[in-house]
Structures are given as C-alpha cells and as structure tokens.
Symmetry: C4
Subunit: 252 residues, 4 copies
C-alpha cells in the first residue's frame, strides 16, 4: 500500500492563498490543542485526511465504541474576502525520521496546490515549571518574517531554543522555507511540559490572532486552564511541589 | 524479494460472501487460540499462506524436527448453503508499524477478492486478574454493527478499552471500515493477560457462534481451561497470590 | 544504491550440482569458524562477494592497515568428479529482519543458478556449559532428509531446540525447503555459547565430512580447542567456576 | 520524496581532479572541526547541499532565530593550477545503516563526476585521556597509499584501531576503494573522546597540509585548544580527575 494515503473531501482553489497553521501533538500538547480549538470555534471544514503506515498501528475507540484509524487532517476556513486559513493537525507525528519528512512534505505539497505562501507551526517550549505569563518564542525562515513577528510581540531570543526544534513543528518550518519558498515561522509557547497545558494554547491563539487578524472567544480554553490551575495549586498547597506535579502525566 | 508473498492453494468465489474472522497472537493469546480451535474443529481448508519479511527471521521446529517458516494463513469453510467463514490466523503479527499495515491490507484485499463484507477481529482485553465470567467487550466500524452485536450480548462500554486497540485486531477493523467499506467489529475477551487463556477463547467462540450462528463443541478447550484453573487455584491456595501467577508466563 | 550488490569472480555451471554449506557468525561462532576452516584447508575459490546496506556501516582494518567493507562470500571447490561444495560465509548476518530475508534469498537464488539441490546450514546450540562431547542436533526440511542424517549419527530430539532456530541458519534452511524446493538441514553443534568454540566447529566438520564424504585434517582446529581448554581449565581450578567463564566474552 | 536530495550551486569540471576530504561529526568531533576550519580559512565555495530523510527530523536555530534543515555539504577550492580540494562535511551522519551507505555512495558519485581520484576521511581515535602529542593513525585502501602516507609521518600500527572504523569515516574509505577505484585513506587523530577537541583537529590539519601540500594558519584553532586546556587543567588541579572531565560532555 502507499505509505501515505490522502482522502480528499473538498477542493481549495489557489486564489484563496490561505495561511497554513500546523499543530500536531508535542511538548505540553499546546500546538495541537490550539489547532483543535480554532477548528472547533471556527467550525472549519475538513479538506482531507492523511493516513499513513508511518502512524502507529492501532485504532482509537470513541465513547460510542466506534473506531477510527490514526490520521492527520487539513481543515479550511475563509475568514474574510481576502483572508483564509488552513489548519493541519492530527493524532500523532510520524513514528520514524523518514515518516516525519514524508508527512511534512505531503502537507506542504498539498498546501502549495492550495496557494499557501505563509506557514505558522505551533509548538511547546518546555520550561519545566508553571509560569504566570508564558512567552511566545519565535523561529523563522528568514529575517523579513522575524521583523513582522517582532512587531506583533513575538519574542526572539538568541539562545532559545538551544537545541533546535525537533519534530514536525521544526521540520515543516524548515522545509517550507528551504524547499517550498514559503515564508514560515514556528511559534513556541512556554509550557511546563508535563501535562496538556491549555494556558500555553491560549497564548498561541492570542499570538496567531494578532498576526493573522482574527478574533476568537477563548472562554472554553480559559475554563480548562482554570481547572488545571486549581489542581496544581492544590498540590502546591499540600506542599508536595514539583515531584507531584510530574505525576499529573498527560491529561486532557 | 517481495515483502509479502502469498502461496495460494484454492480459489474462493465471491458468491460465497464469507465472514472473515481474524485471530492473531496477542494479549492472553485468546484470539489466536480461538481461531486455531475453530479451524481444527471445523476441519477448515487452507486457502493460502502469507510469508513476509515483516515476520521474524527464524523458523519453527516441529516435534519431528521439521522446520517451517513463520507465516499467516487464511482458512475457509462453508457452514451451510448461505453461510461460510474465512479465518485469518498466524504465528506472529508484523514486527514493524509498516508491516502491520501491509499485512492487514493484504488480508483485506484477499478478503475483498473472495466477497467478504463482514469482519470480526478477536482480541484480548487484559484486566490483570482471573475473572469468574469474563465479558466480551466490543468495538465497531459503525453504529449499525453495534446494534447488531448488542442484540447478541456483546458489551459496549464507554471507557473500555481506554487506550484504543493496538495491533492487528484494531488495525484490520479500522482498515476494513475506513478503506474497504466492510462492516467490522473487534470482540475483546477479558483475560488476565499473563498466560495463554483458554477460558477467554471459549467466551470469544461462544460470542462468535451466536453472531454468525454455528455450533461447535467446546469440550477440548474447556478441558484446557480446567487444567490451567487447577494450577492457578493451587497457587492461590498456597497463598502466593497474584505475583506468583504472573510467573506462569505464556504457556499453552 | 542497490541494497544488495554482488561482485562475481567466476561462473559455476549447473552440472556441478554443488552442495551448499552456510556458516555465518552466530552462537559460539562455530558455524562460521567451521566454514572458514574448510575454505582454508580446501583452498576453495571465491565465487562472489555480497555487499549490502543491511550489513553494518563500518570497515575492518587488517594488520597491514588495509580496510575492507563487511561482506558475505561464496566459495567453490570440486571435491571429486561428482561432488563439489559451495560455502557461504561472511562477516555479519543481516542487521534487520528484512536484511536477513533478503540476504538469505540472494544466496539461495545464486545457489539455484549454480545447480544446488541440497543445503546444510551450520549453527550453534547454546547449552551454557562446557561439554566433554558436544552433540550435533539436526533440524530438517523434510523427513527424508531426517532419515538420511540419522544414518550419519546426527541427533534428532523432540524438544531441541525448543524456541526454533533464529537467524540465517534457520531462515536459509526454511526458505531452501519452502521456497526453493531444496533438501535442507541445519546442523547445530552444542556449545557453551560464551566464547568462540573450536571444539563445536570440529564436531560440525566431522558431521559434514560423514554426510558429504570428504576428509579434512583437523589438527589446527584441535590445537585451538586445546588452547581454549587450557584457559578454561585453569579458571576452573582457580575455583571461579561458571561466572568467570562467562567473562571470557567472544574471543578467537 | 527522494531519500536524498541534492541542491547544486556550481559545476566542478573533471579536469580539476580535486582531492576529496571528508569530515563529519564523530569521536571528539575532530574530523568535522578540521573540515569546517579549512573551509573557513580557505574561504571555500559551496558546491552543493545534500538533504536527506536519513538525517534527523529537526531544524537548527541560528543566533538570529533563523532555522536551517540538517544537511551535508560539499565545498571546493582551487589551491593552485594543478591542485584543488573538495571538502565534504555536515551536521550529522546518516541515522541508519542504510542511510550511512546511501549518503556515502552519493558523495562518492558526486566526487566521481568531479574527477576525484583520491580521498581522505578524517576521524577521531578515542583514547579516553588527554595526550600531550596526539598521533595520527592511518588506515588505507591499499599498500601504495600506506607507503605514501608513512613518508608523511602518518603512523600505521598493527592493532590500531582494534575494532575497525565505524561510520562514515570508515565507510566512505571502504567504498572509495572497493566500489569506486579511488586511492583512499582514513586519518584518525588521537583524542580524549569526551569533548570537542581542537587539539586533535590541529594535528589532522597539519597531516593533511603535509600530504596535500597547502599551508594554513592554525592560530584560531590553537586559541580554542588553549581555552579547553585551561578548563581541563583547572579541573585537574581541583583534584577531580577523570570523572569530572567526562562531565564536560560535548561542547564547542
């Protein structure tokens, strides 16, 4: 079978020139959570599903006991006459190095066919502790993009992130710039890294809404962030500090 | 060499519309044991062997010292004028993610060519303890199948299995529904999970016999289940509890 | 590049019907050591080298500081007007499951093109201790071969080896029988398993010389076996028993 | 996508017959550091970039926050009318055995197309301690090359390196000789192995400059070597010896 299979549900004409936003599972899961939230709130339409032998060999089971294969998907929304967005999200990142490259190239080829010229990948920047006001750190395909994002409050810091950007958030950015001639950036939200972190996702969405100019109600995410804050605060008060927080694991 | 090689021994016409049952090695080995038992009791005919570079690089040695390569196989039986079954079983599941996908697609392509419209995969649902009456939990390709199975006593439970279904029992189900348009379900028998469990296999066969409508003598499996019960009971009486039972490992 | 590359140095006509003997590195290294010894003593001619991306990415450095890529090789010798042998040996087995299958198929295709009808693979059967008289245990492609080998003193034992035969000694045997219609057997010499064991290799060569009918001087191997015996005896006398022997590691 | 993608920036005619020098990351990082230093000091021109799905799925982030995909690259410099060099270096070695072979073949094919007849790969020979005067140990494709290098002070030692040469420094050498008919050698500088070691790189460059006949100022590397020496000396004086030095990790 083909290592990557695309099921297409609608055609997106090049004239839309949508901006591509990529949020897959990763550190603190904040990129994916932000992507899913925008898709939900904007009631975005599904453009295609991407199945792949590079994704884990399993199925998910819904609360109705109906199964679904792991996949990555692309969603579309026309925000106004001149602005539209595509969001790329999914259940997993590719499980091998080759899979990471192949899936990244696939989404960028699809994006090219739909007229995409600009890409933002979303990621988490693990800082190992809970911050009052997490920053959004940026990395870019070129200095023009950097200037543009600095004007919108994105922070560029000489030694952050130190070790490069691992996985799809880095690779899609790199390939978009070097192979596809797109303007691209990665927005990395600071996040504790040891649980799914709606607070980080909120900051990512706020940054995106300034850059792309859209408005979105954040109440549901804020509600989720408060729930988690109550749990972590309680743990803190019980004097069990950091070790306990790590026990939270990844929960949504 | 081809990564998957098929040795065909007979042709199955599409008019048979057989129901496909898949039981490969897995948790408690109950799916494979159930599949092997039905093949044996119904004296099913072998349709084909599937060899693959995705299966381990080794051979088995029989009690006669004759070796055989690892393989997966398909067996056929006409149960009545209008009902027939295909059983897919084998020595191993694919050893890589890609192998899992490729072998699952291969069996579903073969099944399609033989007129299969309905698939049941068999799996174990590890509960970590010995149960008096293990349940059969279901997961399905769609709600129509769920209704059908509920009527036959299969249990659908909102949070079970929590983490999805890993491996071929999940993947064949998912691909059957999403890629091949088949009605499909996975039947998961509760099983301790730390030894080959004939009791779980018996429950799977009982469930299948209600769904597909066939009758089969279960005495030999019941005999095996009793043998294991005697061992585990004895261990229990010796007051060594759960830890000791885990030492049973996988035995047949 | 091709995953397997063959450098051929001579043509072997089918009329030779050579017997193929396979000895690659493995348990106690006795198969490879036996193969190398026969190649050396019979001054066999090299038929071809097999290079592969399935072999480790490194080179060996000779005592002259000249490097060589890892490879597997095939050697030929006409023993008499009617009997000739091919020996397959090499530096490594394939490093992946796929590599094991591909390299095994490659040598069997080459063998077919040279008229091979009969194959003996050599392996070690790790018993974890030093034996006075190691046995040769057999496993075969069919019962006809078993009878033939029993007549030559090869031992067939119902539960040995228990877990099948892992790696090329098993796979080449299995594929020779099931895919290439050859008569095939694996000869497994009992060996401690924790050092290169010339004693096991001697027994393998004695067995082969009875089966294929050739005579070969074993003095050099016997000399090596004695050296190792002196070391292990000394360790035994110092009362450090089995644990220490395991520290010998693999030495040649 | 292609597993290896080449972006070419200039053509090198065969009449240049350049000497190829390969320095990728490895033990003590001395091969890569030497390669980078020569490229910098000679202001070499980039011939091509090699991107590959065999390289890690990530991007690097510059101090300006601009990202770049991992790659290997080839640089060219005409040293005189009759002598020119190509340097092959990069961010990583291939992450799999197959990747190592494929990338090595790619650079040697490129080299062939540019008229290369002679290859020197650079590597580190880990000795686990800081040496006053690290030696350069050689390994060669043939004895003619050995003689040539002995005349230039390269050391050939019967048991060094004992375990062969792992990775691209070995593989490119082996393939250059056995597959491409080139004269080739590996120059291995002795290095502690637990930090990036400019001292070892200096010795490699000195050896190359004798063999290929070029002169290059080593001041900047010597400065870096002194800095590291000060750190390691200080640690030594504090009496924390070898264990602490290992904590240095890989730093540049």
């Amino acid at each position: 079978m083909e290592k990557i299979q695309i099921k297409k549900y609608m055609e997106i004409g090049k004239e839309n020139k949508p901006i591509l936003i990529c949020g897959l599972p990763g550190i603190g899961n904040i990129g994916r959570l932000a992507a899913d939230y925008i898709i939900d709130k904007f009631n975005m339409e599904k453009v295609c599903d991407i199945y792949s032998t590079y994704l884990p060999a399993q199925v998910f089971v819904s609360s109705e006991s109906v199964v679904s294969l792991p996949k990555n998907s692309l969603y579309f929304k026309k925000l106004s006459k001149t602005r539209s967005i595509l969001i790329f999200t999914g259940d997993f990142q590719g499980t091998t190095t080759e899979g990471q490259y192949e899936i990244s190239e696939t989404v960028l080829k699809l994006a090219t066919s739909m007229g995409v010229k600009e890409v933002f990948t979303l990621g988490g920047y693990g800082v190992g502790k809970i911050l009052e006001s997490p920053r959004i750190i940026g990395a870019v395909s070129d200095l023009k993009m950097k200037k543009k994002l600095e004007a919108k409050g994105i922070i560029f810091s000489e030694n952050e992130p130190g070790g490069g950007i691992i996985g799809s958030a880095g690779l899609i950015l790199g390939m978009a710039g070097e192979f596809f001639g797109m303007d691209a950036a990665c927005l990395m939200g600071e996040t504790p890294g040891f649980f799914t972190d709606p607070k980080g996702s909120i900051e990512l969405i706020k940054a995106l809404s300034k850059i792309i100019k859209f408005s979105i109600k954040l109440e549901d995410l804020e509600e989720r962030a408060r729930s988690i804050e109550q749990i972590t605060d309680k743990m803190h008060m019980e004097g069990q500090g950091k070790e306990q927080k790590e026990d939270l694991g990844y929960f949504v």
